[in-house]
Symmetry: C2
Subunit: 368 residues, 2 copies
């Protein structure tokens, strides 16, 4: 993966939650291919999605993701427009029609949004469990209030706003549906218990506007009367994700990201690296004597998104100003929470995390 015709400028440390930092070599390749794709004189954004130049991109998306996830044949992969949010509605429509019942685990911001949307569409969407008050944790599955008639049990594997991540797939005797937007491809997935896993692309798969759905094809109803065709998973499956013109630039970037993940050693290698990055940061927060605060119970702390507060909130603007001056960007917390947040997706270099850890310690020494 080498760039042609593009010089690499100074790239800042970027801790944004998404749109997030992307590997420089991926961006260089995309930048170059926008003007001339494989010596064709046509840019990658200017070629037919059904033509011979683009066909290998589609194949790479399917083959590489299938290989990385070690996906059994019963699962189909759908690449769809719109990121993650449309699936808050599409999942109840497509998977909740048999009995109109579903259980939701509300562990933070995004699962609360998904539950709210499910209530618009299913007569019997219910909350099976909620995250506890600080120290924040998901209650053990044995205590969940599960509906034996539920079509599925929904959970958000990584809550990017709250910094809460499941240690692994919950053990329940129901088909699971998981929003893995913020930790997809950051570690191996136990896919077997899942009816459906989905993710927006903008964290570990590149650009905004694209979402990927991995779904047990046996569970998809063939049609949903009264529902737009673009909301019917089976229609996307039948057209191999080309029901309408795909987001070709995002598809191409996702294919480059999958290649990058393979070159990085695959999901096991990334899991080790991601754990090391997160441990480094949490160690600084926990060792700050209360100067920095993170309220999530260690077993449920996210490896991808580390939200934290300053014990003295008056220091927040000072922190952001000094961090930016040190070349550390996009550390603001989610608008619903305030405070700070560092996102550590696959592409986040260990050197960037080391820079941030050093800055956190120096800032505490100066202002603590």
């Amino acid at each position: 993966m080498t760039a042609r015709g593009v010089s690499s400028p100074l790239r800042a440390r970027n801790f944004g939650p998404g749109p997030a930092y992307l590997p420089t070599e991926v961006l260089e390749r995309l930048a170059s291919d926008l003007l001339d794709y494989q010596g064709s004189g046509l840019g990658v954004a200017e070629i037919s999605h059904r033509g011979p130049l683009f066909a290998p991109v589609r194949e790479a998306l399917e083959d590489r993701l299938r290989r990385l996830l070690a996906l059994p044949a019963r699962y189909a992969i759908l690449w769809m427009h719109g990121g993650a949010t449309p699936h808050f509605g599409l999942i109840p429509l497509n998977l909740g029609r048999r009995r109109g019942r579903a259980d939701y685990v509300v562990s933070g911001h995004w699962s609360a949004c998904a539950y709210e949307e499910a209530r618009r569409l299913l007569p019997e969407a219910r909350v099976a469990a909620r995250a506890s008050k600080p120290p924040v944790a998901v209650p053990p599955t044995a205590s969940w209030s599960l509906d034996p008639e539920a079509d599925y049990v929904y959970y958000t594997d990584n809550e990017s706003v709250d910094g809460i991540e499941f240690p692994g797939a919950p053990r329940v005797a129901r088909p699971l549906v998981a929003d893995m937007t913020a930790n997809f491809l950051s570690r191996p997935i136990e896919i077997g218990p899942h009816a459906l896993v989905y993710a927006g692309a903008q964290k570990n798969l590149g650009l905004t506007g694209l979402g990927v759905v991995v779904v047990d094809r046996e569970l998809l109803p063939e049609d949903l009367p009264g529902v737009p065709r673009t909301d019917v998973y089976a229609a996307h499956l039948a057209e191999r994700s080309m029901l309408n013109t795909p987001n070709t630039v995002a598809w191409y970037t996702a294919a480059l990201m999958l290649e990058w993940i393979e070159h990085a050693g695959g999901l096991e290698a990334l899991a080790v690296r991601n754990r090391r990055k997160a441990d480094r940061l949490y160690a600084v927060l926990d060792g700050s004597g209360g100067f920095y605060l993170n309220e999530v119970s260690p077993a449920y702390r996210s490896r991808m998104n580390v939200p934290f507060q300053l014990a003295d909130p008056a220091l927040l603007p000072v922190f952001l100003r000094e961090a930016a001056a040190a070349g550390l960007h996009q550390l603001e917390g989610h608008r619903s929470r305030g405070g700070l947040r560092a996102s550590l997706y696959n592409a986040q270099p260990e050197e960037a995390v080391a820079d941030l850890a050093r800055f956190l310690e120096e800032f505490r020494r100066r202002h603590g």
Copy 2:
């Protein structure tokens, strides 16, 4: 609009229908900004859609499009995921609920698709008129079978597969809904008679995956019970097109395309240039003594997409091979029709059309 750090390679002549040719200077700017946006050290794909770096992009989209269309205040602009196709379903859901009735003018491939989708969603979607057999034309509005109770009359201003374009907005005493995907911003629009105008971005606004909706805000129902929020136009309006994370790279490219259109002199200047390009090509076809065939009545011929057949279909592979060797690409007709098609959107240079015209004449001399 100057590029930094990117050398412009040889760019081929590209007549693709979309994903289509884009101005080299737009691609150079995008390529450069993917790595470093405004000297921030962050790429344009890596910054928060709600942050200060991206805010001017959002404003530029709104302000420039409003200015180019001379848009009255009662119209809102929505930027949405998925290009044009989702609106085949969203329009009946959002605008057809009052009476459940709508009239469709079926003038070609895309309006037939839109009508088929409307029939899934509205009890009383009907065909008001159909294009005639060759010479292909839309019947005069006086002959349309209009439902006096229809919520709207739907037409496709430019049929990109069939090469049929309306000379102007049809005169009917109903709110109009227009799919302008393939000719949006190629000439001034008479917006007043329209309830809604929409377009996929991939022709004159840049990348795939993005659609724009210009809609009379008074006509939008506040909510649609039982419908996913992402399908409710009013929800997108309330969130100023950030109901969920937008396709930031496509938004940025659309902003660059709007700037490019302004620099090109705006819609009046482009209308003159686009007419000249199309006239040049149709003159060659009509002067070929039947070697090349186009069956559309001159008054309804598209200025954007020029489909044509070879009288001897056996020559088709020869034509495509020789055209490619001459540096003329993506001239294949739509997979549903076969034959040939040249697309001449705003960015298509007059020199490229001149090259194609010369090739057409030479090919006829050699094979006629």
